[in-house]
């Protein structure tokens, strides 16, 4: 066994963060990288699908309209109405965009030929977190006024005075640093780690299959099988992360709308 590793290890380059930085495909233009194409592709696909699905707006929906409506109703009802309450309708377009954008780009990670989750590039996750951050703070400020909103965050009502020494920094950090950061890093890290995991099993399998040692060749299907198995697992994680970022954004909005911070 030992000899296999000694012989093989120098040849195997484990996947690293370098594998996430794909070179531009058209000259040196930074706008021609794969994740950027994928993001624009997702915008086109989502727009085309939902415009086609909603175009007729029929009372009795066809298959396409029913499929589109199912996604829309999921965001509208399960995330919007149930979390935000009676003012939810204003936020449905935003939540709907967030959910479809994230889930499509995430699932691109396991779609053959595309096979790259754009959200594993932290910039896209940051953008979403910034939008979420702007929206929920704007909602709070508009609803309660700037002073009342900020004081509501800094000095949570119904707490003994001396606790503010501890609570105020925590609350401020929560609202202005932790929330956007966790929102973006959770999404980014899941997609990044998931893609890395698939890379390890697939490139590992490939290495084993092309290795001169017969035993590694024989064992390589197990690595590929793991890669396929993990793809299913990844699909679950991708959907779950899209749901979580939308759900948390809705929760933040609901919190900002509520009277007490």
């Amino acid at each position: 066994m030992r000899s296999f590793f000694i012989a093989s290890s120098p040849g195997f380059v484990p996947p690293s963060t370098n594998d996430f930085n794909l070179p531009p495909s058209i000259g040196d233009s930074p706008y021609s990288t794969k994740p950027i194409f994928l993001v624009f592709l997702s915008v086109i696909l989502i727009s085309a699908f939902f415009i086609a699905a909603s175009r007729k707006a029929a009372v009795v929906p066809g298959k396409l309209q029913f499929a589109g409506e199912s996604v829309y109703v999921f965001v509208r009802k399960s995330i919007g109405e149930e979390i935000i309450g009676h003012e939810f309708m204003r936020f449905v377009p935003f939540l709907f965009t967030l959910f479809t954008f994230v889930i499509t780009n995430n699932v691109f990670g396991i779609v053959p030929l595309l096979q790259f989750p754009a959200m594993s590039h932290v910039a896209f996750a940051y953008v979403l977190a910034i939008f979420s951050f702007i929206v929920f703070h704007a909602v709070g400020i508009k609803k309660q006024g700037l002073i009342k909103y900020l004081s509501g965050i800094a000095f949570m009502p119904g707490v003994p005075k001396f606790v503010y020494i501890l609570l105020t920094p925590i609350e401020i950090a929560t609202f202005f640093i932790v929330r956007p950061l966790t929102l973006s890093l959770r999404l980014f890290a899941n997609m990044f780690a998931g893609h890395l995991l698939l890379l390890v099993f697939i490139s590992g399998g490939h290495y084993m299959l092309t290795n001169d040692h017969l035993l590694l060749k024989i064992l390589s299907p197990f690595s590929f099988a793991m890669g396929i198995g993990m793809s299913f697992f990844e699909f679950m994680v991708q959907c779950l992360q899209a749901y979580i970022i939308t759900l948390l954004t809705a929760l933040f909005i609901a919190g900002a709308l509520a009277d007490e911070h």
Partner: protein
């Protein structure tokens, strides 16, 4: 342990070369923002209103159908009430007409009966009067004729001239009285 060391060194080397994955790429920040805003605008203007329109139409269709059914039921109930009332009215009217007719019939019968009775009475009275008059006339005629005949017969039989008017009449009267008594 050699292989592990090699792996670690390879990984470290790779990590040293790779940029920090937490540092965002500026281009991607711009693209991400544009893409998200673009998608938001499309979905908000084209998709959400259409789905909402479909939902509203659906709700209205269901509610409208239910309201229409309720209206129809109310109408039917109203019509039923109306017909029931009309039927009751008609029954009442028929009853009244029958009652009136019966009363009227009784009155007519009574009227006719009274009239017939009166007529009968009148005819009876008239007949009685007529008979009485004829009887009197007959009596008178008989009396004269029978008197003359009897006198003539008696005078013939008796041979006695009864010229005296008073006597004659007395004899006749007595004769007639005897005759009546014998009857």
């Amino acid at each position: 342990m050699f292989e592990l060391h090699t792996l670690i060194s390879a990984a470290t080397k790779a990590a040293e070369e790779a940029p920090n994955p937490l540092i965002p790429n500026t281009t991607e920040l711009i693209v991400g923002t544009i893409a998200f805003v673009l998608l938001f605008l499309v979905l908000r203007s084209k998709v959400v209103p259409m789905f909402e329109k479909a939902f509203t139409a659906r709700t209205e269709a269901i509610q409208g159908g239910m309201e229409k059914a309720e209206q129809a039921q109310r109408d039917a109930e109203l019509a039923l009430h109306e017909y029931t009332a009309q039927l009751a009215d008609a029954r009442g009217e028929a009853q009244k007409i029958r009652e009136d007719a019966r009363v009227e019939g009784v009155a007519i019968i009574e009227d006719f009966r009274t009239k017939a009775q009166e007529e009968a009475n009148r005819i009876t009275v008239q007949a009685a009067a007529s008979i009485e008059a004829e009887r009197q006339q007959a009596i008178k005629a008989l009396r004269t004729e029978v008197g003359a005949l009897a006198t003539e017969l008696a005078s013939k039989i008796v041979g006695e001239a009864l010229d005296d008017q008073v006597r004659q009449s007395r004899i006749v009267d007595r004769f007639l009285d005897d005759l009546e008594k014998s009857n």
